[in-house]
Amino acid sequence: MKHTLQQVFHSGRFVVGFSVFMVVLLIVIIYPLILPYPPLEIIGQGTFFPPGIYVNVYDSIGFTTHYTLMLDEAAAKRIASKLNEEDRLAIKEWLVASGVPEDEIDTTDTERLLDQWANNYDAKVKIPGMTNAQRNYYIRLDASLEGILSTEGAIIAAKNPDTGALEEKGTVEQPDYANVGEVPNVRVLPLGTDNFGRDVLTELVRATGVSLLIGFVAGIVATSIGLTLGLLAGYVGGLMDDGIMFVTNLFTVIPTIVLLILISFSIGQERRGAVTIAVVIGVTSWVWTTRAVRAQVISLRNRDHVNLSKLSGHSIFHIILADILPYIASYVVMALILQISLGILAEAGLSILGLGPRTTEVPTLGLMMYWGMIYQAQILGKWWAYFPVVIVIALISFSLNLMNTGLDQVFNPALRD
């Protein structure tokens, strides 16, 4: 046993796959201990907030010390964030259309461009060929440029509860800075929020855990059924073998996805929990294991040590446990690993069809994909809502497959390099 383990861990592929898998597993276990946010809590009022550090504006204006930092680039950055490349070209277009010679306009010279704009723009002027939407765009642009070059600060005012009049509370100067560490309310959303306004990273970690559980349960169920049927068919033989093989062949030919969809659909939305889905996946995917185990057992059935055990009067149960199982153990482990990976993929496929576990209860990787797709995250360019999910699924499945090929190389010498 020890020797086998040593051999297994000498296989580079296995070690890489195993490490990746362990890292994923550790993150799933440790993350909730450090950041115990509830994974399904809806924190964002709105859909798909981009990834970033969210600093409370109210707190950072009113209740934190303001530090004055004189940084050279500050004004330029402020203007650039309000006036992007597209806006500059739009301004140029308007200016040219209103009669300013094209060679006098330089879109890189912000001050001069704004100056020309202020001198020439008139919302009432009708430019031929301009649509209403474009006119409105220019009106909005003009409003947003109001005071863009000013160096004055902003005044903070609050309503007096008695008189209703605005009272000045303080001013915020342009070179004022707040230290993020001193702002009491800061939330880091490394992967933004999803369509419900949930923290994607927290949800993703929890979903990975649930999906691993689903894969594991599905794998255990499928492997147990497959192993039992395979052992019975292979060792007992006869009518038992014929019966089991008949059913196995039947299930091989009926596509698994068809069974999965039909059964999940029949269970109905209300009764679909994560474990139910896992069991359904397990129950529909044992055929491969049965075939493989049966073939192995048949080749073992008439070996000398098995015959000796039979002559010694051991029970069938004992023979299977002591003389057959140890010889097919590596096979069974490989089948289990494959089933786990297939189980995770099957859950994701089912959930994308809307047949996954109930959304309100647990997140799963498949459900996250489903909602991302329903809300068209891929078309809207909200990559954080679906791409990390695809990557996690691929990583888990890749690591498990790597482990499997590693094991294959160890136990199947013909494949060794």
């Binding site: 062949n249 039947l250 091989t252 030919v253 009926i254 596509p255 698994t256 996805i257 068809v258 069974l259 999965l260 969809i261 039909l262 059964i263 659909f265 029949s266 269970i267 109905g268 990976s341 993929l345 994701a348 496929g349 994308i352 069809l353 809307g354 047949l355 994909m369 797709m373 891929q378 078309i379 360019g381 990559w383 679906y386 791409f387 695809v390 699924i393 691929a394 499945s397 890749f398 497959n401 790597l402 090929t405 294959d408 013909a414 494949l415």
Partner: protein, 335 residues
């Protein structure tokens, strides 16, 4: 020829038994579902109907129309009879369209998408796998992990990556649909071109996944064969590498064909999900909307069609296999 006919006869019998069994499952499972399909239609039809006896009459009319007032067994035989006449009943969500009508407008998209994708993916994958086994070295070191990664990606994952890279970011191909949304299907060059452009992303997303899986399988088989005695003997005899490679390829290909027959159900399932991502007007999108709408006659029928497609494909592959592998003929003739 006696050997062949026995082989085909056996396969044919299996084909029919499985079909019957799948058919029964298809009929039974959705009908075990809680909920009343007639109520679903009625809630739409009865909007604005204030007369309670009118609603009751409508309900009874539809229950009778779908034959839901009869015992299950009788319903089953009526269903069998109808299906044999090509009548799958009405779609609930798209009433009064018939299920046959809905399926007829989507099945060809799926067939034309998946069949070539599976064949092309299988050919390229096996070629690359054999090449990797033969060449080894850098080619193998790059191809192996890449294939493993590609085959680890779920079908929808590959579809989304292609979609984001080539449709959303680069804008080389359209994001969804089977043809331009501003077009009506006809036989003009413009329409055909639009179909071809829309075809690319779904097609390659399926092909790439199949390439990954097949390349890995073929590589293992080919390495196994390359170590076989007949290869060493042929080398010893001074037979040219190209010729040996052809032997190896042919021998390693046989298990790959069986593998394809066994995996075709999984491939089709994955491809159906890929269709949904691209909003391709095939069976995948049809079943997606059917599930969302709780449209169980449509779900049953699509499932039956998919089962039938997979069964027929498997059957054809096994028939071909019988011709390719001479051992089958002898084995059957001896038995």
């Amino acid at each position: 020829l006696k050997g062949y006919s026995r082989y085909f006869g056996g396969k044919m019998a299996w084909f029919l038994v499985t079909l019957v069994f799948a058919f029964i499952l298809n009929f039974m499972l959705p009908r075990l579902m809680p909920g009343d399909p007639v109520a679903a239609i009625l809630s739409r039809m009865a909007q604005g109907m204030s007369d309670a006896s009118g609603v009751q009459a409508t309900y009874e009319h539809y229950t009778e129309l779908f034959g839901l007032d009869r015992p299950m067994l009788q319903q089953f035989f009526i269903y069998v009879n109808n299906v044999l006449h090509g009548d799958f009943g009405f779609s609930i969500a798209q009433y009064p369209r018939t299920v046959t009508d809905v399926i007829a407008s989507s099945i060809w998209w799926t067939v034309i998408l998946q069949l070539p994708a599976i064949v092309v993916g299988w050919l390229i994958g096996n070629f690359l796998g054999a090449l990797a086994a033969y060449r080894r070295g850098v080619f193998d070191k790059v191809l192996m992990p890449a294939s493993l990664f590609a085959s680890s990606l779920p079908a929808f994952g590959m579809a989304i990556i292609l979609l984001v890279v080539f449709a959303v970011t680069l804008e080389w191909f359209p994001t969804s649909g089977g043809y331009g949304f501003d077009m009506i299907p006809n036989l003009s060059w413009e329409f055909i071109w639009s179909v071809i452009v829309h075809y690319q992303l779904p097609f390659w997303s399926i092909v790439l996944i199949i390439i990954g899986g097949q390349a890995i399988g073929m590589r293992s088989m080919a390495i196994y064969e390359l170590n076989a005695d007949y290869v060493k003997y042929s080398r010893f005899m001074g037979i040219k590498d190209r010729k040996i490679l052809r032997y190896v390829f042919r021998n390693a290909m046989l298990p790959q064909i069986t593998g394809l027959a066994l995996a075709i159900g999984t491939i089709v399932g994955g491809a159906l999900v890929a269709e949904i991502i691209f909003n391709y007007p095939g069976l995948g999108s049809t079943i997606f909307t059917a599930i969302l709408g709780g449209d169980y006659p449509l779900i049953s029928a699509v499932m039956l069609i998919i089962t039938l497609m997979v069964l027929i494909t498997t059957f054809i592959i096994e028939i071909l296999y019988g011709f390719i592998d001479p051992r089958i003929k002898t084995a059957q003739a001896e038995a």
